[in-house]
């Protein structure tokens, strides 16, 4: 029974292995079509270099060829990956496709490959061997899924910039995924060669690459069983058609294509989306130890002592094509401070914060943050130094759950677990558990414990803002930067956020935050810096700022333009949430009214919260 279907079943395994080589990069959000080239190089060099079967049994040559093939595939991936890893999306796909085509043409014109005639190879591979190889590959990706490395790849797929800010070295991770893909493609090439008896360079053409990609995507590129399902589908559909007596000719490819279209249109996430996905809750949520002792498995960060300089900006400026977004900023932030950054829209607040967190290189001046010179340091190194941030427009990892988002945030303080997970070492389980508990603690701290299993994209706007804060907290930062954390929150939530910030400061964190809710800023901060037209116009304690005529002018215009009663400062100080609770909450909508006491916002018709 099984033997009758040996050939199609072997091809299911081979197709699945090839699809895994696409899956390996798709999971990191990369689209590569070079796998056929890797497989081709691996197949020909493996077969050419492996010993003849007559000398030493059957299996040894196959194993030697596999080792050679995987090494060649990985090596080719490094050679191709180093110059192309900065390319994105379709560009990477086409560059790798170009590589594969070049390989094909070169091999076609080489003597040692037999040119267009190809190379005769003994059939050594059996059904059992093929499925064993597939099992090993599938095991690899299964264990990768919930390791720190696997999560980092998914984070890169969802939002590269946010992943960088969480301290993930995107370049290295992408290259690692690419090399894995090359090795798996190499494995496929060799196995294929030892099954089909005759290989020619044209077996590994564009069509083959597309076939592999289709298999991976149909199966589902976000779940490790996807490639196997996809390969079963792609291989078995023609078989079933033959079995039920559909004539050869045009109907078969037509029906196969039609089915493919139906699957892709009606099953987003591929066939794997039919399988239930276990939602992972923080097992043994710890219950009591809210902010208790830190588990020993997480690297603890030592915050700079109170009063030490955390941020030192010296004449920092940023220019966009002649427009000075930020100009000549001198600013020092000391450990333990809570600094509020306010100013009208377009004052350069976000640009300044982007420079401090290393996302935007300054065009003049110098900035040192936690001992790192930003601008010349990659973002993930700045994050590693202890800077963590949220973004003005939420940049969450949308297809991951809230808990997984926070787990990625803990990338820097958790330990790599993938290799130990492959070996089922108990220490890996302990580390994962510690990371989970820490993530759950961060979620609880922002009040999102109940939403742990919810996809980030399904959360409400305010919850997304809080999830971003939890994610930023998970890296145990010394300097926490929040870009408009209270946007979209009502006054009750904003008051809670204010309390959270105060308690974080009590833990020794230094906090820098941009906020339009001036009442909240004055309430929460130890120091306020006011920016207008890219320059600091005032800096001081909340009381000094509230009384500063320059600030009032920046917000409301000069007194000639509009009578100012002088009660603004007192009013806002009296009410931390920025306005009478019975009035409309101080969110963006309120800001449209220039006279609204608590918000001190100039007229602004742009919906700042629009995404």
């Amino acid at each position: 029974m099984l033997l009758e279907y040996a050939t199609p079943l072997t091809f299911v395994a081979l197709g699945a292995i090839f699809a895994y080589s696409f899956y390996a990069v798709l999971i990191a959000g990369q689209l590569s079509l070079g796998q056929a080239g890797f497989a081709s190089l691996a197949a020909f060099s493996g077969v050419a270099l492996a010993p003849e079967r007559t000398e030493i049994g059957d299996v040894t040559p196959l194993l030697v060829a596999i080792v050679i093939g995987m090494a060649v595939g990985a090596l080719a991936a490094i050679v191709l990956g180093l110059p192309t890893m900065h390319l994105r999306g379709v560009f990477l796909a086409i560059a790798t496709l170009g590589f594969a085509e070049a390989v094909r043409v070169v091999l076609l014109n080489s003597e040692w490959t037999g040119g267009a005639q190809g190379l005769a190879v003994p059939r050594i591979l059996t059904l059992g061997m093929a499925w064993t190889a597939l099992a090993v590959v599938a095991y690899w990706f299964w264990r990768m899924g919930r390791s720190r490395y696997g999560r980092a790849l998914e984070a890169i797929r969802e939002d590269e910039l946010a992943a960088r800010s969480m301290g993930i070295d995107v370049g290295r991770h992408r290259l690692a995924a690419f090399v894995t893909s090359g090795a798996v493609a190499g494995l496929y090439g060799v196995l294929f060669a030892y099954y089909v008896r005759l290989i020619a360079p044209n077996d590994f053409d564009f069509g083959a690459a597309v076939e592999g990609l289709v298999t991976a995507v149909v199966g589902g590129s976000t779940m490790f069983l996807g490639p196997l399902l996809g390969s079963g589908f792609q291989t078995m559909v023609p078989e079933i058609q033959r079995a039920v007596g559909v004539e050869a000719g045009w109907i078969r490819p037509f029906l196969a294509s039609l089915l493919l279209l139906v699957v892709i249109l009606f099953l987003p996430g591929g066939l794997a989306s039919l399988l239930p996905r276990r939602t992972r809750m923080p097992a043994s949520a710890g219950g009591t130890d809210d902010d208790g002792d830190r588990p020993a498995h997480l690297a603890a960060r030592r915050h700079p002592a109170t009063g030490e300089t955390v941020v030192a900006l010296d004449g920092l400026g940023k220019e966009y094509g002649g427009v000075h977004a930020v100009r000549d900023i001198h600013l020092e932030v000391r450990s333990g401070e809570v600094v509020g950054l306010i100013g009208p829209n377009g004052a350069g607040k976000t640009t300044l914060v982007n420079m401090i967190s290393g996302l935007v290189p300054p065009s003049s001046g110098r900035a040192t943050v936690l001992g790192v010179t930003v601008g010349r340091t990659p973002v993930h190194k700045v994050a590693a130094a202890g800077v963590s941030r949220t973004f003005q427009h939420s940049k969450l990892f949308n297809r991951l759950s809230a808990l997984e988002n926070v787990l990625v945030g803990g990338h820097l303080v958790s330990r790599p677990t993938f290799l130990r997970r492959l070996l089922w070492l108990p220490s890996a389980r302990r580390d994962e558990q510690a990371a989970l508990e820490q993530a759950a603690r961060c979620l609880r701290r922002v009040g999102l414990a109940d939403a742990a299993g919810t996809r980030a994209s399904a959360l409400s706007y305010g919850d997304q803002r809080r999830l971003e804060i939890a994610r930023a907290l998970a890296s145990e930062p010394s300097l926490l930067i929040l870009d408009e954390p209270a946007a979209g929150m009502n006054h009750v939530e904003a008051a809670k956020l204010s309390a959270l910030i105060t308690s974080l400061a009590a833990d020794g964190l230094t906090i820098l935050f941009i906020e339009h809710n001036v009442g909240m800023v004055l309430e929460t901060c130890t120091r306020v810096v006011v920016l207008n037209f890219g320059e600091v116009i005032a800096s001081g304690t909340p009381e000094e700022i509230a009384a500063d005529p320059a600030v009032i002018e920046a917000y409301l215009g000069t007194e000639d333009d509009e009578p100012v009663t002088g009660s603004i400062a007192e009013g806002t100080l009296a009410d931390p949430t920025g306005g009478d609770p019975d009035e409309t909450p101080p969110d963006a909508v309120t800001n449209v009214r220039p006279g609204a006491a608590g918000t001190l916002e100039p007229p602004d018709t742009t919906p700042r919260n629009a995404t």
Partner: protein, 291 residues
């Protein structure tokens, strides 16, 4: 001189094909991999129109143009519109268009069988010109003229007309365009129609140039089309024109000086160098990523 002209003729077909490709990419940020199937289908339809219906070549071209446009509408409707708003739309669009291409090719096989087909003998006038010592057929001149006319017309449409303005608005920001009253769905559909119509004409011209049509002719030009739009710059129309001509010339001269079996290495070597040195292509604009 002869080589130069040959390069320009074949390059103009590449350009025409690639412009259809790049038009959709520029506006939707998606690759339509059913484009090569349109290319092949229109070549067969063109041959049938001349052979069975007995139309002249010149009458067949506009009909093929309309046929391509209709096919483009079908592709947009079946393979792209249902994916709107999906997180994985990028990959899914590739796959759904591949699936649709498979269906189109299967239907071609049903209608025309798996064999190579040709225009009936005597379909084109054999007039030849002598240009600077090189032989040029009337057919080649027509290929060049039609390609150029379509490209000029398209450029005019995109830059000057209301429809073109809508297309550029959608390319820039679909959400904003919708808010401002642009019918994004209609613009998208029209873009697909135009794109496929151009691909269809390219298919017929290609079939005329080499006087054969095969089921697999689309995949051969697909790779070249991709190379052309990268070299020229994704989404750039003049870039696709220049890229097509550069590729056509590079191929012809590679065959001349290096040997025909190495022709494709030249094309992809060129592609690779461009990608590394100038990822946005010769005329593409680099998109700035915002925080």
């Amino acid at each position: 001189m002869q080589q130069l002209l040959n390069g320009i003729f074949i390059g103009s077909i590449y350009a025409l094909f690639a412009i259809g490709f790049t038009l959709v990419f520029g506006i939707l940020d998606r690759l339509n991999l059913a484009h090569p199937a349109v290319f092949a289908a229109s070549a067969f339809v063109g041959i049938e129109l001349v052979e069975r219906v007995g139309l002249s070549l010149w009458a067949a071209l506009p009909i093929v143009f309309l046929f391509g446009a209709a096919l483009g509408l079908v592709i947009e409707r079946l393979a792209f519109r249902p994916l709107k708003g999906r997180a994985d739309a990028h990959f899914a669009g590739l796959i759904s268009s591949i699936a649709l291409a498979g269906m189109i090719i299967a239907l071609l096989q049903w209608r025309y069988g798996p064999d190579t087909r040709r225009f009936p003998a005597g379909s084109f006038p054999g007039t030849r010109f002598d240009v600077g010592g090189a032989q040029v057929t009337l057919v080649q001149v027509v290929i060049l003229a039609v390609s150029l006319a379509l490209m000029v017309g398209l450029t005019y449409m995109v830059t000057k007309t209301r429809l073109g303005r809508g297309m550029r608005a959608v390319a820039e920001n679909p959400a904003a365009a919708r808010v401002l009253g642009v019918n994004v769905d209609r613009i998208t559909a029209v873009t697909f129609a135009i794109s496929s119509a151009l691909g269809a004409v390219a298919g017929v011209l290609f079939a005329i140039n080499v006087n054969t049509a095969q089921l697999g002719m689309g995949s051969a030009i697909e790779l070249k089309g991709l190379a052309v739009i990268i070299v020229g710059g994704m989404g750039s129309l003049p870039g696709a024109l220049i890229g097509g001509l550069v590729l056509g010339l590079a191929e012809v001269f590679a065959v001349q000086y290096i040997g025909s079996s190495w022709r494709d290495v030249i094309a992809f070597g060129l592609l690779f160098i461009i990608l590394l040195l100038r990822p946005q292509g010769l005329l593409g604009a680099r998109k700035v990523r915002e925080v």
